[in-house]
């Protein structure tokens, strides 16, 4: 039972890393970027290719995946995304889906459509078991590792967005670009940084997730729904919202499959619908006042 809880948490954390960038672009920048998964895929493929072709160690691949996707995100923000901030959401949907299609076909063309498999270093492969019986807790080392990375990231992000001015400057820029600029905020820079970091996080998530979720060219489409669930249920106004939503989703998914495998996908979706009907703005909304 504890093992299931543990697995759920790890799975949730992974979803969180993958989706948190989207929570930022969608929630804070108000841009519907369905191509988010494509950046995650980029991170995954960077890792796989570096490991397979150049023998770069896994741990080194993670930051490289982050940087690579962040650069990619930055370049695309500069060239393609920026003119679209003012366009209606539906146009953004159309555009970002177009990017996904292109990404999927390109990866297929250059790398091929087979599942890519990552060989983890030995020390991440094992498993530790504590206790016994119903209270046995089995922890895969890799999952432990994911939880650690994610926890560190959460703390860092929370700090940046909550305790630095960057967070409020970002929101100010989104609320009213023209006035934010007139009041001394370098809006372009703020957006560029945010977008790049968001994409970088997705890339990191992709690199970490390739092992658990699998990696093939259809990755961005396959997981889009999951990202959206995390963002919608978590609400978009904080980091803790998506985190808790991802954990909830992860645990519900894993526990649901374990205890009532017959109901499979029902659980996650019913849970999501129930939550959203109950709290239409997501579980955690930014509230003023005291």
């Amino acid at each position: 039972m504890l093992t299931i809880l543990f697995d759920g948490i790890a799975y949730g954390m992974l979803l969180f890393i993958l989706a948190v960038g989207l929570a930022v672009t969608m929630g804070l920048m108000n841009f519907i970027n369905l191509a988010h998964g494509a950046f995650a895929m980029a991170g995954g493929y960077i890792t796989v290719l570096l490991m397979q072709r150049f023998g770069v160690p896994f741990l080194l691949c993670l930051p490289l995946a982050f940087i690579g996707s962040a650069l990619l995100g930055g370049v695309l923000e500069r060239t393609l995304y920026r003119p679209l901030y003012h366009k209606p959401h539906l146009d953004q949907v159309l555009f970002s889906i177009g990017l996904v299609f292109m990404a999927v076909a390109s990866v297929d063309y250059f790398v091929g459509s087979t599942q890519q498999i990552i060989q983890l270093p030995e020390w991440l492969k094992g498993r530790t078991e504590l206790g016994s019986g119903a209270w046995m807790l089995g922890m895969g080392h890799y999952r432990l590792f994911i939880i650690a990375v994610c926890a560190a990231l959460t703390v860092g992000l929370q700090y940046v967005l909550g305790y630095t001015r960057f967070g409020s400057r970002l929101r100010a820029s989104v609320d009213d670009q023209r006035v934010a600029a007139g009041l001394g905020i370098n809006v372009n820079m703020v957006f560029l940084t945010t977008f790049a970091v968001g994409s970088g996080l997705a890339g990191l998530g992709g690199a970490l997730g390739a092992e658990v979720l699998g990696l093939d060219p259809s990755f961005p489409l396959k997981f889009m729904v999951y990202f959206l669930i995390v963002v919608a249920v978590g609400g978009t106004s904080s980091i803790t919202g998506p985190l808790l939503a991802a954990l909830l989703l992860g645990i519900a998914d894993v526990a649901g499959k374990y205890y009532i495998p017959k109901l499979g996908a029902f659980i996650v979706y019913s849970l999501m619908i129930a939550i959203l009907i109950w709290r239409p703005q997501g579980l955690f909304v930014r509230k003023g006042g005291k």
Binding site: R165, R171, A172, V179, G182, L183, G184, G288, G289, K290
Partner: protein, 235 residues
């Protein structure tokens, strides 16, 4: 008195349309300029152009020797512009406090001093921008410009929607600040008498050009001229 702002042959507008034609004016340190004119004559356009939010077609703006027209909008705040836009444009997803801290620059004005000036805001520190009354938003807009610690305040109809007593207070505060702290200000108002009393200079716009420029005192003493310049008769 040292000259702070010098605007020469300014031309600006929206898209291809030119709204301001050859506007020139200047303002000294610690002075207040009343910018008057009928509806739609380009007052807001002038203010926004100074703040860098409108497309400038020609002319030059210099602020304390800095060529403002060469700077991007966000660099102008650093150069000393503090802007209160006509529609207030409070950042709606930020709290009152964040609205101030997000843009604040080091200097004598900080959020606490703003709270002292508008006690109402202090009570509403954690409200989001959308959770303020109309007048509270106006106060916040003024406060937000002050924490930029500007050399030049641009106030676009700052009295709209404020209770008479607050209007009174605010006018007194502006007079005090310009006098004691050497700040300059440009104030746009549709009701001239109130601000002419605290201004040093007055400029009247019509159809995007300056039609009158002189001392505020002189203008307020010539009601017939004022009437002619701002007359209710509309085209």
């Amino acid at each position: 008195m040292a000259e702070l702002l010098k605007v020469e042959n300014l031309r600006a507008g929206y898209g291809q349309a030119v709204v301001l034609n050859d506007v020139s004016l200047s303002l000294g340190e610690g002075q207040t300029l009343a910018l008057l004119g009928r509806n739609g004559t380009g007052k807001t356009t002038l203010i926004n152009t100074l703040a860098g939010a409108t497309r400038q077609h020609g002319g030059s703006i210099s602020l304390g020797g800095i060529a403002l027209h060469k700077l991007a909008s966000h660099e102008r705040a650093a150069a000393g512009i503090g802007w209160v836009p006509q529609e207030r444009n409070i950042f709606k997803s930020l709290t009152v406090h964040e609205n101030l801290t997000a843009v604040a620059r080091p200097g004598p004005w900080n959020p606490d001093r703003v709270y002292k000036m508008f006690a109402r805001l202090a009570e509403r520190k954690t409200n989001l921008g959308t959770q303020l009354s109309g007048g509270e938003q106006q106060m916040l807009a003024v406060g937000r410009a002050l924490v930029l610690n500007p050399k030049l305040l641009l106030l676009d109809e700052p009295l709209e929607g404020l209770a008479p007593i607050i209007v009174e207070e605010l006018l007194r505060a502006i007079a005090r600040i310009t006098r004691d702290e050497g700040l300059s200000a440009i104030i746009v108002e549709q009701h001239p008498q109130a601000i002419l009393a605290i201004s040093h200079r007055a400029v009247v716009l019509d159809h995007g050009t300056v039609v009158h420029s002189g001392s505020a005192e002189a203008l307020s003493e010539q009601p017939e001229l004022l009437d002619r310049l701002l007359g209710v008769a509309r085209a």
